[in-house]
Symmetry: C2
Subunit: 798 residues, 2 copies
C-alpha cells in the first residue's frame, strides 16, 4: 500500500485560518527518510545512530508554519508519526518538588486525598448529567422526527405518493446530520468518531492534541445528538467515554484555559501524572453512564491504562463510575416522572432478562462458541471493509465540505434504504395488547397489525436492540432479519469514520442481535423441540456480544459491561465464551477496529509487552544518539538555540557534568524538560540576574503549574543579546535522579521499565555513567511483530 497523507482528523488544524483549503496531498513516502529494514533473522545489522535526533533537518524548508502544528500526516500503518508527544507521567522530582513535598504535613496529604475523592465525585456527577442531557435531547428530537414522518406516511399510505414521505424522511435526517457534521468538520475535527481510540492513546501515555479541551466536549455532545437524531447507524455510547474524559481533565485542573477562568483550586493536580489518573476515572465514568456498568467502566480504564495501576486509584475510579451511573439514573427517573425508581442506570438498557427464560443448557455451549466464531469473522470483515474505506477517505475525502457532504449522503441513503426495506417488506405482525412498539407503522398491513421491518428501521438503534432481545418469538420472520442484517452491516460500516461524533457499539450490537435472533429462529426450526430452549432473545443477545466482540476485541471489560447491561449474571459464562472466541477468531485476520484507526494515525502506541522475539536488540541499538545535553550551569544562548532548533524539537535534555576535556560525553546528573526550560527562560532565572537582584522572587512550583499544560513556544519568549550571554543554573529544576539503563540492556527489559513507570525519556548510560543515548516512546513503539517476525516501522515527521 502506498504511503498516503490526509488532513489530520484527530488533532487541530493549527490556527484554522483557511488551512483547511490547502491541497493536502503530499506523497508521504517522500517524507520518510532513513528507512530501516530489519532482516528478521537475528543476524547482525547496522542500525546506526538514528532516531528523532538527526531526522528532518530540512523540514523547515517545505513547511513554514510554526512547529508543533503540522498540517499533514502520512497515513500508513507502517509509519510512526513524530508529531505525537508523550505525557510526562513520571514526576520530575526536582528540588522544588521535594521541598514542597517535605514541607507538606500528614494532614496536607490527607486533604489532597480528600480533594481527589471530591474531584472524582464531581467527574461522575457531571458525566452523568451530560449523559442525561444527551439522552433526553436525542429522545425528544428523534421522537418529533419519527412522529412527523409517521403522520406523513400514514397520510400518504392511503392516498398514494409515499415518495413524498421518503423525501421528507431523508431531508430531515440529512438536516440533522448536516448540523452535526458541520460543527465537527469546521470547528473541532477532534470530536469526530467515538473518541475511544483517542482516549486509548491518551491513557497509553500519548498526548493527543486538543483531545481533552472544553470545545471538543461541546462539539462532541451537540454532534452526537445530531447524528443519532439524524437516524445514522450510530450509537451515543462511545462518545460518552470521550465526554467523561474531557470532564475529568477539566474538573481536575480547577480552571478552564478555553474560558480563561482559573478557580485557584486543585493546583496541586496540574501535571500530567495527576491529570492522566483523573482522565482514566472520567473514561470509566463515561462507560458507566453509557451502559449502566460501573464495574465495566473500571475494567475498561484498567484494560486501557493497565501499566500505571494503583489500588487507591482503582477505588476512586470506581467511585466516579458509581456516582456517574447514579446521577444518570436519578435524573432520568425524575424526567420519566418516576422519581426514586432507579431502573435506568445507563443510556442503553438491554431490558430485563427474566431468570426463568434465561437458563441455558450445556449443549448450547458449542452453539455459543460457533456464534462467537461467526462474530469474529463478521467483525473482521467489518474491520477490513472499514479499513479500506478509511484509506479511501484519507485519500479523497479530506476537505471539511466534502466530509459534510459525505455525512449527509450517508444520512439520506440510510433513510432511503430503510424506507425501501420497510416498503417492500410484507412481514406483518399483530399489534400486541401491551403496545410495546413506540412507533408502530401500519403501512400496508391489515388493521391491528404493524410492519415488523419498521420495528428495526423506524426506531432509534437502542430501541431496536431492545426489541430484538425481548420481543416474543415470532415477532420477526427470518427474511426480515436477514435483509436487515445485510443492509445494516454495510450502513454501519460506511457510517463509522464519518466526520460526525458517533459510536460503533450500538450498531454492532444491533447487527449481532439481528443475526443472532435469526440463528435462534433457524435453530428452533431445525431441532426437535428446539422451540422450547432456543429462545430467540437469548441468541440475539449472544449474537450481539459476538458481533461487538468481533469488532472492538475487548474481552474482560466487555464481558462485564454486557453482564451489567443485561442485569443478569446467568449469561456471564456464555458471554465470556462468545467474546473470547470472537477475539481469537477475529485477531487471526485483522486487529480490532480501534487499533486499526490508531495505527492509521501512526500513533506511537505502546503495547503491553515488547515483541516476543526482540531479545536480541539492546538499548544501544534502539536508543537515539547522539543526545543533546546541557551542562549544570549552561549559557542562555545555547539553551535558546537548542530549543529553537525546529529540526530536532527535543523535549527532554540530560544534564551532564563533563568528565574530561577530551571527552565529549558527559556524566549524567539530571534530566530537564523543554517545558521547564521555557518557564525558566520566561521568568529569566539567570545566575547574573539573581546576583544583581537579590530580592527577586524565587521561582516556585506554582509558576510551572500556572504555565501547564500550554507552555508557550520558544519563539514567543524574547531573549536579548545581553541575556544570551548570561548563565542558567539548572540544578534546582532538573530531575536529579532520572531512570537510567546500561546500553547492554535488552529491549524487553527497557520496554518493561519504560511501560511500567510510564516514562517519557529513559537515559542510556555506559559503565562510566556517561550519557550515550536516550530512549523515547517512538524508539520502542517502532518494533512490532509482523508476519515474518520482528518488523520496524519508519519514523516520519508530521
Amino acid at each position: 500500500m502506498a504511503n498516503i497523507t490526509k488532513k489530520v482528523s484527530w488533532s487541530s488544524r493549527g490556527d484554522e485560518s483557511g488551512g483547511g483549503e490547502r491541497t493536502p496531498l503530499l506523497n508521504g513516502s517522500e517524507e520518510v527518510r532513513y528507512t530501516r529494514q530489519l532482516s528478521g533473522e537475528g543476524g547482525m545489522f547496522h542500525i546506526g545512530r538514528l532516531s528523532t535526533v538527526d531526522l528532518e533537518e530540512d523540514m523547515t524548508s517545505d513547511e513554514d508554519s510554526v512547529r508543533g502544528c503540522p498540517k499533514e500526516i502520512p497515513h500508513n500503518e507502517k509509519l510512526l508519526s513524530l508529531k505525537y508527544e508523550s505525557l510526562d507521567y513520571d514526576n520530575s522530582e526536582n528540588q522544588l518538588f521535594l521541598e514542597e513535598e517535605r514541607r507538606m504535613s500528614f494532614l496536607g496529604f490527607k486533604c489532597l486525598e480528600i480533594s481527589r475523592w471530591v474531584i472524582c465525585g464531581l467527574i461522575g456527577f457531571l458525566t452523568g448529567l451530560i449523559a442525561c442531557c444527551i439522552d433526553i435531547a436525542v429522545e425528544n428530537l428523534a421522537g418529533v422526527k419519527y412522529y412527523v414522518v409517521k403522520q406523513n406516511i400514514e397520510k400518504f399510505t392511503e392516498v398514494g405518493g409515499l415518495s413524498i414521505s421518503l423525501i421528507l424522511w431523508a431531508v430531515l435526517n440529512s438536516a440533522f446530520v448536516m448540523v452535526g457534521a458541520v460543527i465537527v468538520a469546521f470547528f473541532e475535527p477532534g470530536a469526530a468518531g467515538s473518541g475511544i481510540p483517542q482516549i486509548k492513546c491518551y491513557l497509553n501515555g500519548v498526548k493527543i492534541p486538543r483531545v481533552v479541551r472544553l470545545k471538543t466536549l461541546v462539539v462532541k455532545v451537540c454532534g452526537v445528538i445530531c447524528s443519532v437524531a439524524g437516524g445514522l447507524a450510530v450509537g451515543k455510547e462511545g462518545p460518552m467515554i470521550h465526554s467523561g474524559a474531557v470532564v475529568a481533565a477539566g474538573v481536575s485542573q480547577g480552571r478552564s484555559t478555553s474560558l480563561k477562568k482559573d478557580f485557584k483550586i486543585f493546583e496541586y493536580f496540574r501535571r500530567d501524572t495527576e491529570k492522566r489518573d483523573f482522565v482514566s476515572a472520567g473514561a470509566a465514568a463515561g462507560v458507566s453512564a453509557a451502559f449502566g456498568a460501573p464495574v465495566g467502566g473500571v475494567l475498561f480504564s484498567l484494560e486501557e491504562g493497565a501499566s500505571f495501576w494503583n489500588q487507591m486509584l482503582t477505588w476512586r475510579i470506581f467511585f466516579a463510575s458509581m456516582i456517574s451511573t447514579f446521577t444518570l439514573n436519578f435524573f432520568l427517573s425524575i424526567y420519566n416522572n418516576k422519581p426514586g425508581d432507579l431502573s435506568s442506570p445507563g443510556l442503553i438498557n438491554f431490558g430485563r432478562f427474566e431468570s426463568d427464560s434465561v437458563a441455558y443448557n450445556l449443549y448450547e455451549i458449542p452453539l455459543f462458541i460457533v456464534m462467537g466464531a461467526a462474530g469474529g469473522l463478521l467483525g473482521a470483515l467489518f474491520n477490513i471493509l472499514n479499513y479500506w474505506l478509511t484509506i479511501f477517505r484519507i485519500r479523497y475525502v479530506h476537505r471539511p465540505c466534502l466530509q459534510v457532504m459525505e455525512a449527509m449522503l450517508v444520512a439520506a441513503v440510510t433513510a432511503t434504504v430503510s424506507f425501501a426495506m420497510i416498503y417492500f417488506s410484507n412481514d406483518c405482525q399483530p399489534l400486541g395488547p401491551d403496545q410495546s412498539e413506540d412507533y408502530p407503522l401500519q403501512l400496508f398491513c391489515a388493521d391491528g397489525e404493524y410492519n415488523s421491518m419498521a420495528t428495526a428501521f423506524f426506531n432509534t438503534p437502542e430501541r431496536s436492540v431492545r426489541s430484538l432481545f425481548h420481543n416474543p418469538p415470532g415477532s420477526y420472520n427470518p427474511l426480515t432479519l436477514s435483509l436487515f442484517t445485510l443492509t445494516y452491516f454495510f450502513l454501519a460500516c460506511w457510517t463509522y469514520g464519518l466526520t460526525v461524533s458517533a459510536g460503533v457499539f450500538i450498531p454492532s450490537l444491533l447487527i449481532g442481535a439481528a443475526w443472532g435472533r435469526l440463528f435462534g429462529i433457524l435453530l428452533a426450526a431445525i431441532t426437535p423441540n428446539g422451540s422450547v430452549w432456543a429462545v430467540p432473545g437469548k441468541y440475539a443477545l449472544m449474537g450481539a456480544a459476538a458481533q461487538l466482540g468481533g469488532i472492538v476485541r475487548m474481552t474482560l471489560s466487555l464481558t462485564v459491561i454486557m453482564v451489567e447491561a443485561t442485569g443478569n449474571v446467568t449469561y456471564g459464562l456464555p458471554i465470556m465464551l462468545v467474546l473470547l472466541t470472537a477475539k481469537i477468531v477475529g485477531d487471526y485476520f485483522v486487529e480490532g477496529l480501534y487499533d486499526i484507526h490508531i495505527k492509521l494515525q501512526s500513533v506511537p502506541f505502546l503495547h503491553l509487552e515488547a515483541p516476543a522475539t526482540s531479545h536480541w536488540l539492546t538499548a544501544r541499538e534502539v536508543m537515539g544518539a547522539p543526545v543533546t545535553c546541557f551542562n549544570r550551569i549552561e549559557k542562555v544562548g545555547t539553551i535558546v538555540d537548542v530549543l529553537s532548533n525546529t529540526s530536532t524539537n527535543h523535549n527532554g535534555f540530560p544534564v551532564v557534568v563533563p568528565v574530561a576535556a577530551s571527552d565529549d560525553l558527559g556524566k549524567i546528573c539530571g534530566l530537564i524538560l523543554r517545558s521547564q526550560l521555557i518557564v525558566l527562560l520566561k521568568h529569566k532565572v539567570f545566575v547574573e540576574l539573581a546576583r544583581s537582584r537579590l530580592t527577586q522572587r524565587k521561582l516556585q512550583l506554582k509558576d510551572f503549574r500556572d504555565a501547564y499544560p500550554r507552555f508557550p513556544p520558544i519563539q514567543s519568549i524574547h531573549v536579548s543579546q545581553d541575556e544570551r550571554e548570561c548563565m542558567m543554573d539548572l540544578t534546582e529544576f532538573m530531575n536529579p535522579t532520572p531512570y537510567t539503563v546500561p546500553q547492554e540492556t535488552s529491549l524487553p527489559r527497557v520496554f518493561k521499565l519504560f511501560r511500567a513507570l510510564g516514562l517519557r525519556h529513559l537515559v542510556v548510560v555506559d559503565s562510566e555513567n556517561r550519557v550515550v543515548g536516550l530512549v523515547t516512546r517512538k524508539d520502542l513503539a517502532r518494533y512490532h511483530l509482523g508476519k515474518h517476525g520482528l518488523e520496524e516501522m519508519q519514523l516520519a515527521q508530521t
Copy 2:
C-alpha cells in the same frame, strides 16, 4: 504491647522431628537489636548503615538448626521479620537466558503462549474439581451428622433426656474438628486458616515457606471438610483460594517435588516470574469456584497483585476462572442428577433474587449507607477482638496438642450454644408446603411447625445464609435474630484463627445477614407501609455485604463477587455503597482482618505506595550497606565462605569491577543470586576445570530450572580444599543489567520502581556507578504511616 513470640504457624516446623515440643517462648525483644526510632518531625536523624547485612552475627549461637528453618518468630506488628524472602520476579537476563530467547523462533513463543493457556485451563479444571469434591464431601458428612442428631433429638423430645442429644451433637462435632485440627497442627501448620493472607503475601512477592506445596493442599482440603462438617462457624470458600493457588503452582511446573515426579513439561515456566503469574490465576480460579464469580476472581487477583499487571495475563486468569466455575457447575449438575443445568456456579449460592422483588428506592440509599457504617463498626469490633485473641493464642496456645484441644473445645461449645439457643427458643413457624428447610426441627413446636432458631443453627452456614436471604417475611422473629447475631458473632470471632482450615467469608455473611434481616424487620415495623418495600431478604443481603466488607475490607472485587453470587446486578450500586462505607468506617478504627494477621506475622508486605510523608528519605538512608560484592572472576573459597556465613544470609550479590586499588567500592557490572551460585558450585563451573576438561558439558539454563525452586543449602555442597583455590567466572551467569538508582533518589521513587517491577534487589550506586548499597524489600516495608507520621519498624531475625 510487649514483643511476643510463637510457633510459626505460617511456615513449616523445619524437619518436624519433635520440634513442636520444644519450649518456644523466647522474649522477642531480646532478638531485636538496632532499634531505630524516627523522630517523625522531618528533622535529621542518623540511621547509620544498618540493614540485613550486619544484623544477627551471633544468630548461630542460640540456634543450631540449619539456616532457613527458623523456629520462632516475634509476633509484634511493629517488627519486620527477616525470615521471609522475596520472589525473584525480575528475570535474571544473563547470557544463558538471552541466548535461549534469541534462539527461540516466533513459533516457539507461540507454543509457549499456547502452553500458558493450556496450563490455565488445567488450573481452572482442577480447582473446580477440588471445589466439587469439597462440596460433595461436606454435604454428605454434614447431612449424615444432622440426620443422626435430628433422629436423636426427635426421639428424646418425646421421652425427655435431650441432654443426650446435646452430648451426641457435641461429640460428633468435636470428632470431626479433632481430625481436622490434628492434620493441620501436626502435619502442615501452613494449611491453617483461610490461606488468604498467605496468598496475599505471595502475590505481593513474599516467599511464604511451604505455602504452595502439595502437602498443604491435601491437608487443606481434608481440613476444611472436617471443620465445616464439624459445625464450626466457618466457611469452605476462603480455603478454595489457597487450594487454587497450590494447584496453579503445581500444574505450571510440570512436576511435583513432593512426589518426586517430573513430567518434563513446562520446564520454561520453572522460575518465580512465571510461577507467580500462574498462582494469581489459581487464586482467581479459587474465588471463581468458591463464589461462582469469575470476574470477581480476576479482580481479587488484581487487587492483591496489582503491581505486576499485564493484559495477556488478565485474559489467561479470566480463562482459568471461567473454566473453574464451569467445571464445578458441570460436575455438581451431574451429582445433583440434573446434568446440563448450569445453575450452581459456586460453592456458595445466594439463590435467585427475583427482579421484581429486588427493586430499591432512592430513600433506601441512606439506609444502606447506615448499614454500611454499622457493618464497618461491627467489623472493626470483630477484628479488634480477633486481634487480642490472636495475641493470646500466640502467647499461650502454641503447642499442636493445645491447638487441637482448643479447636475441639470451640466445636463443643458451638454445639452446646446452638443447642441451648434452639432449646430455649420458642419461635415456631409453620412448615411451608415447599419444605424449603433441609432439616426442620420440630422440637417443642406444634405439629406442622418447625423451630425457626434451628434454621439458623441446625444447618450448614451456607444454607443458613440462603434461608436468611430468601425465606418469606415473618420466618424469623426479631428476638431469634438478635440472639443468633450475638452468639454467632462471638463464635465466629473465636473460631477464626483456630488451627483448622477454614474461611471467614461465610460466617461474616451469616452474621451480617442476621442483623440485616433484623434491621429490615424493624424497619418494616416502624415505617408506614414499610412492609411493602422493606423486604427482609434485601436487607439481609445488604447486612451480609456490610459485615463482610467491615471485616475483610475489600471493595471492588468484593462488590463484583457479591453481585455475581446474587446473580443480579440491580443490587450493584447499593452493594458498592455499603462496601465503601464499611471500608471507610472500619479503616478509621483498625485494619482489615487479613492485614492484621499479615502484620502479626511480621511479613514484609509492600503496600501500593510509599508512605505519603516519606519524600525526605533517600535511597542513601534506606539502603543496606556495606554490600557484599563479588568480582567478575572470583575465588571459589570466597564465594563458599560468603554463602556459608549464616550471620548475613544474603541472596543477591552485586558483581563489580574494581576501580582503583585504593578504592574498596567497585563499579557495578552485574548481579548474581545465591541460588545461581549454588548451582554453579554444585556443577563445579570453575575456570580451571573448564580448561582441563574441554569436553565438559556447558552449564545450561536447564540446570538452573531443575534445581528450582528448592535449591540445596550451601552446607550440602562439598568443596574440597583444592577446589577452594579455583576461580569462578560469573560473567555468563550474572544479570548484566540490574536496575540501579543513584543514592539521592527519594524513597517514594525507589519504592515505585521496586514495586512496579517486582524487584528483589535494587542496587544503589554513586555517580561513578560504584556500588554503595542495596535496597531490598525489608528496607522499604519498614516504613509505614503511624498515628504520628512516619514510623519505622524494627527488623528482627526470625
